[in-house]
């Protein structure tokens, strides 16, 4: 670990010293020993504040959306999940590759439930790789939440999601962190379209839940950040996992964000798509 | 090994002696197990369904229900087109028509799930592996025997019940016959009705039916007619006196597909009681057995 951290600090420092990048995004310490927060390193000496430990959990790629037109490329440390987030945002034309300086850091997995379903610890896109890749261990059940809910009765499922979304405070933290939720302006903030009621009611909360899932659905990169940031601790990956599960069942192996070229499931069609309608 | 619940049918027990013997011989050679349905009864053809719908369905259904009860894993096999038609209709109705299923179960006083299929010999002989088996076991080629394959109406019709792919010019038997070295002739009466159903109660009216079948077979060069039903077989050969008188044509031997296969597989004429036919077939068969491949 220390070895790797040294490599990261070195890389960040080198990048900042060369002046090729405006700043580098990584992880920094917080006042809580078991939490890290995103760190924006602007000067070479900032690299010393860089942290890389089992608590370097937060996804940091989404911050790129806050600086869409940088004067200089932005340096980012990318694990597998961060790289998929970057692919996602590139595919959606939100960020440009030439604005990025990607420092690849194969991840060793963190102590977090989300990491148990990780399918790519190694970054899928990067400019340089700071240390050797290691194989990703066999992931746990990819649809663990969805499978559990599917096993319930229809009434049980409704009761389950009602209970979940009755607790939702509509803070939209899940949206803010999600690399697939990268619209310039989110539909929930636009009253004009009328797609989403603003009330804090079961109905509108449920509709928000389903809509968020459907908007993300085929573009979800399965990083689980939505659940991490939810202040109410709601198991909302259950919604997106269901969509991914169905897509995988319908057309076979499908994964979003593994590159920046593959089409989204809902953006294309096949003449022989399964027809469940008569 | 293939195994079926076997429904012999009444004719097999009496008039169709050579057919029965040959079937036993061929199935034995092919290693196809026939488990006779215990306590089976007449399928009712054709008076059963003439008399009543319930009787027409219940008589065959009883045997089927017994078969499914005793050997739930076995499909049912029969060598008679009439029996096939009645059994298969009972199966089909029980599957597709709730009212019929109700009548059947009430009348036979047994549950009948219609879970197993009913097959005829043509279905089984046409299975790829059985066909291969036949080809392997043909020890004597019936080279050049010009045979008219007569399917009869009830082995192929009605389409929705039998599922036969071609009801006007079926070919499954022709393909099997060809395995023995015989030459199936192209003729037009393969699936025309022989009128066996009315040979008692409308005898004079229905005599013309076998006659025109015999005539078309012969005018297309057939030396023998091969059948897949004891009723058809009997009807086609028993009426030949009248035919000869009326048309001036020669008699033509008629025997079942089982007999043809048995001969090709090496059975002696005596073994399968070929002499029991009305029209002697020995000469025709002997000629074919002597013939060398062209």
């Amino acid at each position: 670990m220390n070895d790797n951290l040294a490599k990261m600090r070195e890389a960040a420092k080198r990048a900042l010293e060369s002046g090729d990048v405006g700043y580098v995004i990584g992880w920094g310490a917080t006042k809580f020993p078991d939490k890290t927060s995103p760190l924006f390193m602007r000067k070479p000496e900032d690299a010393e504040r860089l942290v890389w430990n089992e608590y370097a959990i937060p996804g940091i790629a989404k911050y790129l959306l806050d600086d869409l037109y940088p004067d200089k490329p932005i340096g980012v440390f990318v694990r597998g999940c961060d790289s998929r987030a970057i692919n996602r945002m590139m595919k959606d034309n939100r960020i440009k590759r030439e604005n990025l300086r990607l420092l690849g850091i194969p991840c060793d997995g963190k102590d977090d439930e989300r990491c148990t379903i990780c399918r790519n610890r190694n970054p899928l896109v990067y400019d340089e790789l700071l240390w050797d890749e290691a194989p990703t261990p066999e992931p746990k059940d990819r649809y663990f939440r969805a499978n559990a809910v599917e096993a319930m009765s229809a009434d049980g499922r409704y009761a389950y999601w009602s209970e979940v979304f009755d607790q939702c405070i509509r803070c939209y933290a899940c949206r803010n962190i999600c690399p697939a939720c990268n619209c310039k302006e989110c539909y929930v903030d636009m009253t004009a379209t009328g797609f989403q009621g603003k009330q804090h009611s079961r109905s509108d909360n449920l509709i928000f839940g389903v809509t968020r899932a459907f908007h993300v659905g085929d573009r979800c990169i399965e990083c689980g950040e939505c659940e991490r940031v939810c202040p109410m601790g709601l198991p909302i990956m259950g919604q997106t996992q269901k969509i991914l599960k169905d897509i995988n069942e319908l057309v076979g192996d499908y994964e979003s964000g593994v590159d920046a070229e593959s089409e989204n499931y809902l953006g294309v069609f096949d003449l022989d798509d399964k027809d469940e309608f008569m | 090994m293939r195994k079926y619940s076997y429904f012999p049918g009444c004719s097999m027990e009496s008039t169709a002696k050579p057919y029965r013997l040959a079937t036993e011989y061929v199935m034995g050679k092919l290693g196809i197990g026939l488990v006779e349905i215990e306590d089976w009864n007449c399928c009712g053809a054709t008076s059963g369904h003439t008399l009543s719908e319930a009787l027409g369905l219940a008589l065959p259904a009883r045997s089927l229900a017994l078969a499914e009860k005793r050997n739930p894993e076995l499909d049912i096999l029969t060598g008679c087109a009439s029996c096939y038609a009645r059994l298969r209709l009972a199966m089909y109705k029980a599957r597709t028509d709730e009212r019929a299923k109700y009548i059947i179960e009430k009348t036979i006083d047994m549950p009948y799930a219609a879970a197993r299929e009913v097959y005829n010999f043509l279905d089984v002989f046409s299975l790829p592996d059985v066909r291969e088996g036949i080809a392997e076991r043909v020890v004597r080629k019936l080279t050049g025997l010009k045979a008219a394959c007569y399917y009869g109406c009830l082995n192929v019709r009605p389409a929705e019940v039998t599922g036969a792919p071609d009801r006007e010019n079926p070919t499954s038997m022709d393909e099997i016959v060809a395995l023995t070295g015989a030459e199936p002739v192209d003729w037009a009466f393969k699936a025309e009705c022989c009128g066996a159903a009315h040979q008692n109660d409308a005898a004079s009216a229905s005599r013309a039916l076998p006659h025109r079948i015999l005539r078309d077979a012969q005018s297309n060069g057939a030396e023998a007619i091969v059948t897949a039903c004891p009723m058809c077989n009997l009807n086609l050969e028993m009426r030949q006196d009248g035919y000869v008188n009326r048309t001036g044509m020669d008699r033509i031997p008629v025997f079942s597909l089982s007999e043809l296969l048995a001969v090709a597989m090496g059975a002696s004429a005596k073994r399968i009681a070929l002499e029991a036919h009305y029209v002697p077939s020995a000469a025709v068969l002997a000629r074919a057995l002597r013939r060398k491949d062209a």
Partner: protein, 150 residues
């Protein structure tokens, strides 16, 4: 929740202009009767139907929702309904997953000549939804309705 509900369901059908809307018109021309519960919203193509419309309909009090378009291959805009098929296959499953009875949401292909199919579908869906009773899930009960009974 004490809301007065009659068992006279409201069903909304989003129908594409070229096939199903035409088919429904033909049903009229043929005087094919179907329940009054089905209300058609005309859209140019089934591909125009945003899943949001469906959620909105359930939210505001529809008991059943239909999305109907041309048969695959027959889309007036060549490909619209292929996207419809993908989108609503997922949506239908997601709704069911969220506890909405599958009987409440139907997607169907009905061509301009299938007046009979339109009638049959309208009848079938109405019967199904009637059997399920009024929809309460995803339903936003307006204050007005609630106070009426309080």
């Amino acid at each position: 929740m004490s809301v007065k509900e009659t068992n006279d369901p409201k069903i909304i059908a989003f129908c594409c202009n070229w096939c199903t809307y035409t088919g429904a018109d033909l049903a009229g021309l043929n005087r094919s009767h179907y329940p009054e519960n089905v209300h058609i919203v005309r859209v140019p193509c089934s591909g125009r139907v945003n899943p949001q419309f469906i959620l909105r309909a359930f939210r505001n009090g529809c008991d059943g929702v239909m999305v109907c378009g041309c048969h695959p291959g027959d889309c007036h805009y060549s490909t619209g309904n292929y996207f419809t098929r993908r989108r609503f296959t997922l949506m239908k499953r997601l709704l069911e997953y969220n506890g909405i009875d599958p009987g409440r949401f139907h997607a169907r292909w009905i061509s301009g000549s299938e007046a009979g199919k339109f009638r049959d579908t309208a009848e079938e869906v109405t019967a199904m939804v009637r059997k399920l009773g009024p929809n309460t899930r995803y339903r936003e009960y307006a204050r007005r309705e609630m106070s009426a009974d309080e």
